[in-house]
Amino acid sequence: MSQDVKVTNRIMLRKLAVMSVLMFGFGYLLVPLYEKICDVTGINQIVKADEIGNTQVDDSRTIIVEFDSNSRGEHWYLKAIDSKKTVHPGELVEVIYELHNPSEKSVVGQAIPSYGPAYASQYIKKIDCFCFKQQEILAGQTQRLPVMFVIDSSVPDDVHTITLSFTMFEVEGAIVDEKES
């Protein structure tokens, strides 16, 4: 091949190589983009307080809410004091979870909620929840953690039982302030 074709080939090679490097970067750009889209559209905002309007308690219906919990790691046990409650849609419900740290190490954790069935999640409006912020728990300590929520009155008739589950994750690298408590 002639000399100019070689030169134009080199230029083309450079352009295409830059393009592939940029696309590698774009793969990483998808991460903040994904978070931004979730933020703007309100998808996946499970650890923020929900806004509730004027609620009317619907005494004609009852829904069983089960309280489940999982702990990841050996530092703690998370358990609801009541394993289930029978509630009316629109009624303000408060439950207490107990978090116990039997280990020798103080840790910081974050609870992530999950719902079963998944589509019921949109009807559980959390007003206050320990999952809205991180929890510090010292070695040997036990904490009582509240959750307050309302089941929206528009919940479909075929929903009779909703499971609310929390999983406790350790926040790696967070430092516990020993003096605070």
Binding site: M1, V5, T8, N9, M12, L13, L16, A17, M19, S20, V21, M23, F24, G25, F26, G27, Y28, L30, V31, Y34, T41, I43, N44, R72, Q110, I112, A118, F169, E170, V171, E172
Partner: protein, 525 residues
Amino acid sequence: MEAAHAHDDGHDHVPSGLMRYVTTTNHKDIGSMYLWFSFAMFLVGGVMALTIRAELFQPGLQLVRPEFFNTMTTLHGLIMVFGAIMPAFVGFANWQIPMMIGAPDMAFPRMNNWSFWLLPPAASLLVLSLFVPGGGPGAGWTLYAPLTVQQGMGMDLTIFAIHILGMSSIMGSINIVTTILNMRAPGMTLMKMPLFVWTWLITAYLLIAVMPVLAGAVTMTLTDRHFGTNFFNAAGGGDPVMFQHIFWFFGHPEVYIIAIPAFGVVSQILPAFSRKPLFGYASMVYATASIAILSFLVWAHHMYTVGMPVEAQLYYMFATMLIAVPTGVKVFNWVATMWKGSMTFETPMLFAIGFLFLFTLGGFTGLVLAVVPVDVQLHDTYYVVAHFHYVMVAGALYAAFGGVYFWLPKWIGKMYDERLGKIHFWLSIIFFNIAFFPQHFLGLAGMPRRIPDYSLQFADFNMVSTIGAFGFGMAQIFFLYILLKAIRSGEPAPAKPWDGADTLEWTHLPSPAPYHSFEDPPQIR
């Protein structure tokens, strides 16, 4: 590079022995190596497929442990996609693109050699993963988090293998784009290029755009596993669903990376055996380009069930259905090419027509799966397995078989045995349908994919499917015999064995094509 070329110039001296293949920069040698490599991987992946089907022959666990079964489904997918089908079409590109556009070789012959020689180490890593503690990857070929964040070192080997395969594909694509854009013979305008070359130009751009994204996704998985990042690790605030988004941003264009070169091969074969020019050449080019662009905008139809807003589901549903329009244009043009043609049915034509029927069927089941309420029912069932095997095996693989039979006379200068070729076609198409057609019914009845056991009501169709799969596998051993027979003792092939073939490699070059072709570019009218 210059020195080696100066040495080779002017006479058809071919270096001998193994070193010829290790050091070669000749596009024909590299093309052959790609094709043989992909055939070897096709057999390896095929053995894995038959392991899966053997286990599913009867309900209950008979042959393999469930973990190993998962490894088989994962590696079968990865090896067939990245080791068999993609390298096969890169092999076609290497052989055919320089000859079809009147170029002496690929633009970067040395890089071409490197692109190929990255493949065997990558394939070895994938196979090696089976023998490390913890076993091979068992997360499915889609490598979904959180499983990929948790599994043993077999997963690390898989991630490295994908990095290397990605590098190979990107270098190959850069080479192909540069060759097509800069090295065409005088007078070969873009809109005079054979459609196979067009489809590869578009595919190469797709590869350059999405392979790096896959590399990014598996790099994130790797850093999640070992370097304390939390992209997908839910325990650290990461989001496994995000992996699915990034993966399918790569993954959907990837299915067209596999399909579009197959479209190109079929667009060469059908006119040749219909003895008519391709119907609607320009619309074929535009339809292919539209498919490529649309493929970037529909990725989330693979994940309707992860919980997305109904508005998003509607968008992805309609955007996905839109792809049926350019695909329909292509199918229409292929059929119109055959309309009133003087058709003959040699083996390449049979495979092209087989492609046309079965790929279209697979396209229709794809449309069914695009519909959200239907997909929610069929997601992760055997219906999906049947769908993508119709487009990947009866689509891409049949086009590759057709292409091999079509160009083999040019490559080796000898004819294959026509009678045996036809037997190969009929065995393949009958056993393929025995293997995969019942899987539609299994999926509709609710049999989940990637599970080594199943309820008793699925037993009969699974037994039929396994019989078909083994028959299909045997037919491919027969294909190897046909190839070896042609290479050893085939009848000498004329320069243009197919009446209707009109591209440069048939009209300007003898059979077999000389080691160096088009040193002086041909003049295109």
